[in-house]
Assembly symmetry: C2
Homo-oligomer: 239 residues x 2
Amino acid sequence: MADDTPPDPAAGIRTEADLADPAYRQGLLALLGVLAYGELVGFLTIAQEAGFAPSTQDRVTAARIATQEFGHYERLAARIAELGGDPHKAMAPFVDAVDDWHRRAAPTDWSEALMKVYAGNSIANDFYREVSELVDPQTRELMLEVLEDSGQVEFAAGELRRAIAADERVAGRLALWGRRLIGEALSQAQRVAAENDDLMGLLVDTGSGYGLDLGGWMHMFTRLTDAHTARMEALGLSA
Amino acid sequence: MADDTPPDPAAGIRTEADLADPAYRQGLLALLGVLAYGELVGFLTIAQEAGFAPSTQDRVTAARIATQEFGHYERLAARIAELGGDPHKAMAPFVDAVDDWHRRAAPTDWSEALMKVYAGNSIANDFYREVSELVDPQTRELMLEVLEDSGQVEFAAGELRRAIAADERVAGRLALWGRRLIGEALSQAQRVAAENDDLMGLLVDTGSGYGLDLGGWMHMFTRLTDAHTARMEALGLSA
């Protein structure tokens, strides 16, 4: 009796079964598309920024980080294909916005490149972790695997600490740079999501019974920002 | 009797036993050092040049080629370490010359980047094949594995053919570019070898009983140049 209104412990949590829902699939392809393109461009920019590395050791480290990003790209693209999508079509709606961000956030030296790894990869990881709650278990597992940091954030933090200790003036410049980097990233991310109905439908509950409500969506960005602030402070920088 | 002058079928062919010879080891570390740095910079430049790629498909292909180059770097560096050397010390003498070449041979668009892959990787592969004859079997095997082309030269050739077919004027520009690219590479390679006693001692027989004689050394460069010319002609370009 009254089993028409059971308290469903899985309410709002997506399962494999949701993959049969075309709207969910579309949203998922959009999400995987933007993540895949982010990883691909992450590869390209870290590889480019490695040109600033002062030693062959640092060049090798940067190259290793870049190839890991490409490995992430390959896994996300494989998941898109597995879902019957085309990775390039899935990435297409996000190319301009992501390229634009990377152009605006182009480092001019090695310490700025390191800050981009430290602050940028960290916030991307936080975002992955948050959003992984909103997808089916198999996609979630992939997202959590892809965000697994293989030491690059720690490497960047160590190098940044050394650079700041060696020259006090570096701190002010890097604080500014970090602020710009993340400010641009967050506003760009919100704009991209808002403009993409598939993605918005996945992330924000506009009647589907899944996703964050608009308050939750804003709270997520607040959490991302707070964590970024804490990371900057951990380097002794004002955020 | 007379076994003090046996016709030795292995005369001039190095074996594992030669690794005990300090001069050979030094030469080998130098050779592996210059190859490793070439692969590392190959990674960096292909990744940078991927920025010119007109589509996400091409960016992915370029990224894949670049990560293969980094895989080659890792294998060469591992061999250096296995021989008791330090990869960064082994690369150090060649950093300026290789960087210098890449600066002079910096493509300004995607078709020039493709030509650098097509002509540059091919001639590097030819060089690996030639020089692999001069080293011990285990190092030779590694060199032959590393040069194994995973389709990038063919990919570049296909793209270049399309670009040339689409616009006749491209041919003249690419012919010029290919000539400059390889002219710089060969003269730089000869200069680098000539200035490095360890490397020269390995490659050219200056009394060791191993390596090419000076005529053979020059012939090798002639063969490299001839093969390059044939490859340019295969694209319908004058070399």
